[in-house]
C-alpha cells in the first residue's frame, strides 16, 4: 500500500517540476518529501537531482534552452567576401574570398583609371540604363 502512494507522490512532484536553464535553483515543490537541486557539469546541460527523502531516486538530464542565441544568417553582407549569393556550376575557383576586394567607386565620384583608353580628364557617362 505504501509503494503505490510513494509512486503517486513522485509522479505529482515530477509533474510540478519546471525545466531549468544553467542557473542552479531550488525548485518550489508542493510535496515536502521531494526536493530538487541542480548541478552543472556541462555548459549546455543541467542535471536535475531528484531526491525522495534520503534516497536518490533518479537523475533527470535537462537540455538548456538559450533563447538569446538565435543565429541570423546574413547572406548578403557586403562587408565580407560572401560566396553564397552566386553559385554556378562552371565555377572552378574555391574559397569565398577569391578576388574579393572593396567595391569600386561609382562613376563620377573619382577620376577613371589612367589606362590610356580615355581622354585625360574625361569620364564615361551613362545616357540610359
Amino acid at each position: 500500500m505504501k509503494l503505490p502512494l510513494a509512486l503517486s507522490l513522485m509522479t505529482t512532484a515530477l509533474g510540478t517540476t519546471v525545466l531549468l536553464g544553467n542557473n542552479a535553483v531550488a525548485l518550489p515543490v508542493a510535496n515536502p518529501f521531494v526536493t530538487a537541486t541542480t548541478s552543472q557539469d556541462a555548459t549546455e546541460a543541467s542535471l536535475l537531482h531528484l531526491q525522495n527523502g534520503a534516497q536518490v531516486s533518479d537523475w533527470l538530464i535537462l537540455a538548456s534552452d538559450d533563447d538569446d542565441d538565435d543565429d541570423d544568417h546574413d547572406d548578403d553582407d557586403d562587408a565580407y567576401c560572401d560566396d553564397d549569393d552566386h553559385e554556378d556550376e562552371d565555377e572552378e575557383e574555391k574559397g569565398p574570398c577569391f578576388g574579393a576586394t572593396m567595391s569600386p567607386a561609382p562613376a563620377g565620384s573619382v577620376t577613371p583609371p589612367d589606362n590610356g583608353l580615355f581622354v585625360t580628364g574625361t569620364t564615361p557617362q551613362v545616357k540610359s540604363n
Binding site: 576586394t101 567595391s103 561609382p106 583609371p113 583608353l117 551613362v126
Partner: protein
Amino acid sequence: MKKTPLLAALVLSTAMTLPALAQAKTVTLTTQLNRYGGQGAYLAIYVKDPAGAYAGSLWMAGGKSKYYKHLTDWTRFTGGNAGQVNGITGASVGSGRTLDLSMELSDALFDAGYTLHIDASVEDMRDSPNEVAVPLTTAGAGVATKGRRYVSSFRYDF
C-alpha cells in the same frame, strides 16, 4: 609690330590644341539585353590590345565586387582588381533593358587591332565570358553584333 608675337602665339597654341582634339572621338556604346527573365546582369566592358592582352576597362555595370569573379575572363585578366573600374562603375542592367554609354576614347584604339569585349553574368544563371567581342574600327561603327547569351545587340557609334 606688336601684333606679330601675339599672332604667333595664337597660331602656335592652336596648332598644339587641334592635334589633341583630333586624337580622340566621342564614342557611344549601346548594349541591349535579351529578356532572359532573371536578375540584373553584371557586364564588364574592356579592351584587349592587338596581341590579345588586356588593355583596360571601359565600364563595369554592377557595383558589388564580390560578384566580379563571375565575370571570369575579366577577372582572369585583372586578378579581380576592382581598382580597374574605379570611377567607371554603374548599376547592373536589367533583363530586356539597354545600357547607353558615352565616352571620349583615344583615336589610337581604332583601326589598330584593338578589340572590345563584354563579359556577362546573371545571378542564378550561367556566366557568359566573352559574351561580345568586336574589333574597334571606323568601318565597324554602327554595326550591331549579337551576344552569345544575354546581349541581343551591341554596337558602338561615333
